[in-house]
Amino acid sequence: MASIKEQFEIPGKLKTWSYALIAVGAVALLAGLFKSGMSKDEHEQAIFIGTVMYNTIFWTLVCNASMFFICITTLAMGGWQQSFRRVPEAISTMVPIFGSITLVVLLYVGFAGKHHIYHWLDTEAVNNDPILKGKSGFLNLKFFVVWTTLAIGLWTLLGYRMRKLSSEADSGAFDNVTGAKFIFKNTVGASMFIAWFGLTVGSTIPWLWMMSITPHWYSTMYSWYTFMSSFVSGMSLIALWVVYLKNKGYLEYTNQEHLHDLGKFMFAFSIFWTYLWFSQYMLIWYANIPEETVYFKTRVQGAYKGIFFFNLIINFLCPLLILMKRDAKRNYTLITFMGILILFGHWIDFYQMVMGSISKDHVTLGWLDFGILSLFVGLMILFVAKALSSKPLIAKYHPFLKESIIHHT
């Protein structure tokens, strides 16, 4: 154990960049707010709120995917991720921050009754609509508020407990008994998070937050599809931070073998995402029932045609062809490139999922979207760097650390 750099010091450049991105984003946010957010035109207003909404939902779910990754590897008794586990931990500290933004935005939409976004908030329309009336047990303001608050609150709480537990591995070596106890406590914490994750991100939350923008339409695939989008982006984000820290000379125990496994996740789940994309699309295409095709009508034949298929190219064809080779997954430059591409691709995916329903007739993608994206990226960089620097980069006494050091794919 020669001296390893345990403590991450935030480089000045990173800070400057994050502040610059936040500044650009704040300007865009304010400009958007004055231009369309405060507009009298309800539709114009809905576009602004929708833009903020899909960004904040995307980043909340992506950062939450980090905690999902930690918990799922913990439950699988995985050891290989230990050498860089503090990176997903740091990313998951964004859940309370982005989560509270999401909460504020969604509660505002709910309580202000923005029925241009959630049509089911319009009680009069619901009463005259047998389909919406049938769904009103799920799609109503009370449930929406309670479930949203509960979801974000428990992600935060259960994630916080996992991170706190992880700090125990910093203080001193475990013996057999305390080590086994530590692993057991980790398993319990991870199971609780996964159970709640399955009830929220794995099922209800994407239906509630995004699918209900087109309240007449439904797809049981939708939640898994959204979850996969966020998971594959989450893995890309982890890989990007790992590569960044490696470039700065940290994470000595992480090497190409670990990067290879992260690359495998990016590759495999890009394909799984496509599988869900196609499963959702083909059944609806085949049955060709108007109430089901309404979602795809605007996307496949309408204004969003270009974005819809562009999305498929960068989220499926590029990872498939570029990440297929073993050497590509072990190459820092290619992983960085693909990480950014996949994150961008799934951001576009979330864009068309939300805005394709709010602004059906014309594509709104423009300065506002990229401005708000830059706000969120800036916040993410700033706070993840802070979280990384607040703890040692390696849980030195974790019982599984050795497994990670000698990891071999």
Partner: protein, 196 residues
Amino acid sequence: MAKKKFVVGCFDDEDLLFPAVKKVRTVGYKIHDIYTPFPVHGLDHAMGLRETSLHTAGFIYGITGTTTALSCISWILTKDWPLNIGGKPHFALPAWIPITFELTVLFAAVGMVLTFCYLCQLAPFVKKHRFHLRATDDLFVMVIECTDKTNTDDLKSFLSNAGAVETELQIAEADWWVGSYDKDEVPFENTNEIAA
């Protein structure tokens, strides 16, 4: 059937094997192959074997399957025998994707299995020379190919010095052949030659 001369060195410890491989390669002997009771991590690197190109073959089989499926279905359903199925267009790409996927997997899987068998020289009724039966039990068997100029006694003592517990000279068929062991080869005929 071209027979070749081999010197076989048997090691009873994995930890002795790696330095031995290194020494043998430094001196310049040609390692024919190493037979181990279980997969040994990193041995392929130590032996200097190149990366397998099986996955490249797999990719080629895969895209062959994709093109076969797409060209067959599209020709049949648009040119040769167009059918009206549920009012869908004749060129109904989404409906073909599952079949295309299946055919891609089928071509890649079957092709790769056959290629793998060929590369490993495995097939029904085909035999390969067994250098040492205990390679399936507890010995790591390193087989070195000799040329006319190789001094086999030197090589034997070299291997013994490197830690081999048994060394022996064998003249054996290097390739696979169709036949049976009991007619072409007596497994234990060299037993008395083994220098302990």
